[in-house]
Symmetry: C2
Subunit: 560 residues, 2 copies
């Protein structure tokens, strides 16, 4: 280490830790009269948000929650969830955002693994909770969340109902200072193999992530994220990487916020219209669901910016949304990265380019946000050039990456091999700093010595007019090692067989976008493609399904 | 301290210190082809900026500069200064930005006090440097900065000329990681009493200051600071709190930057026009100088946003600038605070208000930027309410305040009494979070038991059509303790005496804005008002001048 002149603020007046409470303070100072809206149930302004967070802190501490405890939340997306994201860390405890789409066994596993001491449970999940309560090893008390009075709902060891408890608590709380490296949040990734793995983030990490996300606004002609006048409605579950951390950003910036509860497309469109929502973020399937909804037909969604993450944004979906007035733009991150790593960005040079080329860049993972270091590595750990064509694993350094997986030193070491976080994504970097994700390492199709990106193939196929949804996986092949297999959902009234797809893809071969081995010789048209609990293609299940179909025979399969 | 769950990243892969090098990396990724412009001498893009910073790092290390050393810069505002603000801290050294407007004795004092080992000297300052060189106790080597070839300039122990040395150095440098609490910059405040006092800032502080300044963009309908499309030209000296830290912000955001060298108003206006500058920042006197310039007459400055700090922005100057198309907006900070603390902000409520009320808020110190804690204290250290009327000393906490004055524990302790940084400013806080600076504690006029804000009085008087510049100080008075005395500079061809000023101020008394004791009974009309080296009213000298005039008699004095 260099002999720099170090001034440690540890124990003097000057110490000023980066704490989540400072983000809450900011929103009220900017826009005290803007509102937090929960469906058609409740709305209140930032002054009241501050009072409610203070009340919740009193409720929790009165119920025995102490600094260092883990407090779990099982709720739909609500103002209550937002309040928990502040109040729980602000008293020094850790908020565990439970993925309610996991199986009861997995939820039970995560709650015991995280050593939850206190749980806030929505009445909709009370039956689920009651079913696992007997096997919970660390939970001592519960608190009921409900949109009605909760009179018919029984939870074991329940201290009361949220709104009633808040109403009875004092509206000011003297939130203490403490070490910025204190853990604030934890949740479990929905890996496709093995038990869920717990990641965790500190106050310092969340404050820096929030600042960097907000800075992104100022650095881009085409903001990936929010700006001052926006009305914010997340459509990424709050249990999923704290809704990508963006409720913290919206609160710091003093934006009006709209929480929709469950993701009924008719309700989302109604809230968008009534509350004049201008900014949302979600996975591609949610946009597809919105566009397909009855309430969306004939509607001009002009002015609705939606940042897309979780899976690749295809050109097909981008154009379909643009046709309805929505402006989609891609961003990239993962549970382990808090999550924001990069977002599509058009620099001065690209703003001079053709619309077609601009769209190409709007679909990319884009340019890293400030403070993020990105590189690509060959399998041997050597670094590859940022030349736009060298493919390798995307590895990262940033101030807000999980330090590891809780209680799992082996997986943690793999994640951080060589001092960089390994994303498991195959990508290229170009000279403008753009990250282009080509595939998951495990989803790359290895055929005849070539690597074919399942993601690129899906992107190409999604541009076929008849195709509504697509997944491509490798199936084993004696001669080539693997061959691509495409699973398709077609638009109503459309038809497509393997020969038709081949004819559609041949021009891409001629233009050099893919090699001829990339054309799937086999496809299957299905009603739905399996997705994970967070809306990603469930390639593990898809591979199992296809293997079975190929073995047993299935009339959905069409071959060339 | 609470028993939170602390995860210290100190010695593992996950450690990722907040270092200035990360800001430089960001600009190139956003806008690699935007330019850094130095007058009509030089222009290059962000790729070249990165190469030049690497070259400078090689030049410095080859000359023997090591981590922990202090490297001083004596230059006009230039691309070179920008490069020093990155390269010097990025090798772990400390950049000392020398205030070239101080007296030679004071410069000598600061250089010995800071223990400068290496100095970069502009050829314009070579005579000054040569005059003090013999008394410098720590400097070992110098480096010549010049706009010509520097052939006729001799500096003792000189390693060579900047551009020639850079041209010969390698264009890549592997900048190391080190502790984020390492000191990066130091400079001396131009206090009105005693020796200059050294303040210092760490990498962590400057990175957080940069992020918070950039975030401010996204949080405001009326950006105080820069946004993505802006062209940036500082008109605050780079030795003055590193040009308010905004070159770091501009670089992180990838903005085109224009450095004007010296502040010749004709040149500044020429650069504004030619380079299409949209954002600047300066003290009020610079705007006055620009408006008075021959080249400004009849020019529409539409699209030029200028943030004003250093002294209060008066309504008179605001309106004069608005009349010429400039949009002025106030911000607040000081050398000890890195400097940004707050900026004028119009929230949704104020955007509904009358133009007159909106202007009132554009002139205020405004709302603290994110992460800043502000409060006001009575003389006994108790906290006063944020009610918009209780006046007290503004005290601050934030992640980027100087820890103290270098080598001056007594002044450091006074600065940080009770764990808050004491600004020496009298202010109010209102319920919307606005800071309104009323005066310097030492400039408040204490008359008949009342405190009169010299600043408010100056603001009122500046609205008189005949007044171009004004300073008000207290002069001692046997009966009242102190009485206000106004020093005026009038617009060409205008006249004003004490009676005329009294008549102008009486409506303000009737409307309750000031009490009747606040009307100056004595004024003096002068050619110029003494200013400090950073353009603030030099009230210490003004008081001395007036005391002498009152004693000796002076025909500029007019009394009621």
């Amino acid at each position: 280490m260099l002999q720099t002149r170090i001034i440690k603020p540890a124990d003097n007046a000057y110490a000023y830790p980066l704490l989540i409470k400072r983000l809450l303070m900011s929103g009220q100072r900017y826009e005290r009269s803007r509102e937090i809206v929960y469906r058609d149930r409740l709305r209140f302004d930032y002054r009241e948000l501050n009072r409610r967070v203070a009340r919740l802190a009193h409720v929790l501490t009165a119920a025995g929650v102490k600094a260092g405890d883990t407090v779990a939340v099982m709720d739909w997306d609500s103002h209550r969830y937002l309040e928990c994201m502040f109040a729980i860390p602000m008293i020094g405890a850790v908020v565990h955002t439970i993925n309610v789409r996991l199986s009861p066994e997995q939820i039970l596993y995560t709650m015991n693994h995280a050593e939850d001491r206190f749980v806030l449970v929505n009445s909709d999940f009370a039956p689920l909770y009651q079913a696992i309560a007997g096997q919970l090893t660390t939970v001592e008390k519960t608190l009921l969340l409900t949109d009605d009075d909760g009179a018919n709902c029984e939870l074991p060891d329940c201290v009361g109902e949220y709104e009633r408890l808040l109403a009875a608590a004092p509206s000011e709380y003297d939130f203490p200072d403490f070490d910025e490296d204190s853990v604030a949040t934890t949740f479990y990734t929905t890996g496709t193999t093995g038990d869920p793995k717990g990641v965790y983030f500190t106050h310092r990490q969340l404050v820096l992530h929030t600042l960097a996300a907000a800075v992104t606004v100022g650095c881009r002609e085409n903001p990936t994220l929010m700006s001052s006048g926006d009305v914010y409605m997340p459509i990424t579950p709050m249990f999923h990487v704290h809704a990508w951390g963006l409720p913290y950003v919206a609160t710091m910036m003093g934006l009006k916020q709209v929480y929709p509860g469950r993701y009924d497309p008719e309700l989302l469109i109604e809230l968008w219209r009534r509350e004049q929502v201008t900014f949302s973020h979600c996975v591609p399937t949610i946009v597809q669901m919105l566009l397909n909804a009855k309430a969306a037909q004939g509607v001009d969604f002009k002015g609705w910016k939606i940042t897309i993450g979780g899976s690749a944004l295809t050109r097909g979906l981008y154009e379909a949304a643009r046709g309805c007035g929505m402006q989609l733009i891609a961003a990239y991150g993962m549970s382990e990265t808090c999550p924001l790593i990069s977002g599509a960005h058009l620099n001065d040079e690209l703003l001079q380019a053709s619309d077609d080329e601009q769209v190409t860049y709007r679909l990319k993972a884009g340019v890293p946000v400030v403070l993020v270091d990105a590189a690509i590595q060959a399998p041997d750990g050597s670094f590859l050039p940022a030349d736009g064509s060298s493919q390798g694993e995307l590895v990262l350094r940033a101030p807000w990456l999980t330090q590891g997986y809780a209680g799992n030193p082996q997986k943690s070491e793999e994640l951080w091999a060589g001092g960089w976080l390994h994303t498991g994504d195959v990508a290229t970097l170009d000279e403008m700093g753009n990250i282009d994700i080509r595939d998951r390492i495990k989803d790359v199709i290895k055929t005849g010595g070539e690597w074919i990106s399942s993601l690129s193939l899906e992107g190409l196929i999604s541009r076929h007019d008849a195709v509504r949804d697509v997944a491509v996986v490798g199936v084993s092949d004696e001669r080539w090692g693997e061959r691509p297999f495409a699973l398709l959902v077609l638009c109503p009234g459309q038809a497509l067989d393997a020969r038709g797809l081949q004819a559609f893809l041949e021009p891409a071969v001629e233009q050099g976008h893919i090699n001829k081995w990339a054309i799937p010789r086999q496809i299957a048209v299905v009603e739905d493609i399996p997705k994970t609990s967070v809306g990603k293609l469930d390639k593990k299940r898809i591979r199992v399904d296809i293997a079975r179909w190929l073995e047993e025979g299935h009339d959905a399969i069409s071959s060339v």
